[in-house]
Amino acid sequence: SDEQPRMTSERGNLVFHTGSTKNIEFRTGSQGKIKINEDDLAELFSQIRKNKDEILEVKRSIGVLQNVSNQITLINSKIVSL
């Protein structure tokens, strides 16, 4: 039936299909990799998470800087107004 997965060749393109509610899954072993051309899929995905974490950290640093900046601005305005 329609729900069976297919590997098709469409004018030389290689296409992997599944039915409407079915998944395509990539499962790696402890040292097995899924490589897409030269890229390791798992590494790229761990980079996405690393990016996410670093963005969080960066935002914290910016928060601190904004606080400091606000305080200094305040002090400066007092000094200037002396």
């Binding site: 039936s1 329609d2 069976q4 297919r6 098709t8 060749s9 469409e10 004018r11 030389g12 290689l14």
Partner: protein, 347 residues
């Protein structure tokens, strides 16, 4: 009648490979680049190298797939070689040899197939056509009449009884790999409305049907041992045996009469080797204003001078029955034609 397509293009069908075996793990598996093919895969295969066609599909049953070859030894696979998927373009819808016919799905399952003249071995207008589930196939539906009329068609477990649903299916890429040629299907979901039977409707395809059966290189009918063999209506070659042609009244009931012959005569042990085909046909030579008649074709498994004698006996039994009870079945007259080995050139 149910008509089931016989060939398949499954990966596991040894006859689909040029080495007459399923490829081994160390073989190079070749599909031609221009081979348009749908291939059903039923199990997991290890492979070294497989060239896929530019347009094709591999449908994977649960648990089926492809794995890398680990270099281990497989029984019967000592040396790797090139194994090619054979050409599937040659299978024609109109080839009588590529269909099984049965009067019920159970009979199909139990391989109780019916005998029919060649035209009627190909699906008729009130037939249900079945492409078995879990099989892939490729069929040439070139048709001189362009339109192929059917009651229904089942493809990979999906039954189509309306033109709209079938037309939608035929647009899919799978359908384009399964069917090629200029024919179009029309499915009516209708049974034969006439209890005296309906013509098959394949008379217009007679030439194509016989060409597919006998090969394009002209007539190659089997050599017959009987004298004056004859050609039943709808058949491609002359036969030895007997035919009975019946003129009938509107009261004639095909199913009822067929059952009578089956139960009264064909079930007798002495007729175990006789095959019967019964259908409504129209004689081609009297095409204008011709009336349909009921044709009964009888062939037996006797050899040499005995060829056809069993069929002849049965024909005589049937004619006697008609003389006694024909009126009650709605039969006006019957004419018999016989060709047996015993009347061959007076031997």
């Amino acid at each position: 009648v149910y008509k089931q397509w016989i060939p398949n293009t499954n990966f596991e069908n040894a006859s689909n490979w040029d080495k007459d075996r399923i490829p081994c793990a160390n073989d190079v598996v070749l599909f031609k680049s221009n081979q348009e093919i749908s291939v059903f895969v039923q199990s997991t295969h290890s492979l070294t190298d497989m060239y896929l066609p530019l347009n094709g599909e591999f449908i994977m049953a649960p648990g089926a797939g492809f794995a890398a070859f680990d270099g281990s030894w497989h029984p019967g696979c000592d040396t790797g070689s090139a194994v090619s998927f054979t050409d599937a373009e040659k299978y024609k819808w109109h080839d009588p040899a590529l269909w099984h016919a049965a009067t019920s799905l159970e009979d199909l399952d139990q391989r109780k197939y019916i005998f029919a003249v060649d035209e009627e071995r190909v699906p008729c207008q009130y037939d249900d056509v079945i492409f078995q589930p879990e099989t892939s196939f490729r069929v040439n539906i070139d048709s001189s009449e362009r339109m192929i009329h059917l009651r229904s068609i089942s493809i990979m477990g999906q039954k189509f009884t309306s033109d709209a649903a079938l037309a939608e299916y035929m647009q899919r890429s799978s359908a384009k790999l399964q069917f090629h040629g200029n024919g179009t299907f029309q499915v009516t979901n209708a049974r034969c409305p006439d209890k005296s039977g309906c013509e098959c409707g394949n008379a217009g395809e007679h030439r194509q049907i016989c060409a597919a059966l006998l090969g394009d290189s002209g007539t190659r009918c089997p050599v017959l041992v009987c004298k004056d063999p004859f050609q039943p209506v709808g058949h491609c070659c002359e036969i030895c045996g007997a035919t009975i042609s019946l003129e009938y009244t509107p009261g004639f009931d095909m199913r009822q009469y067929q059952n009578r012959i089956l139960h009264t005569f064909l079930s007798l042990p002495k007729y175990a080797g006789v095959q019967m085909a019964i259908s409504k046909v129209r004689k081609p030579q009297t095409s204008r204003n011709s009336v349909p008649l009921i044709q009964i074709v009888l062939m037996d498994d006797k050899m040499g001078s005995q060829t056809g004698t069993n069929a002849e006996q049965l024909a005589e039994d049937i004619m006697r029955d008609i003389a006694e009870h024909g009126d009650s079945f709605g039969i006006v007259t019957g004419t018999v034609q016989v060709a047996t080995g015993s009347n061959s050139s007076g031997q």
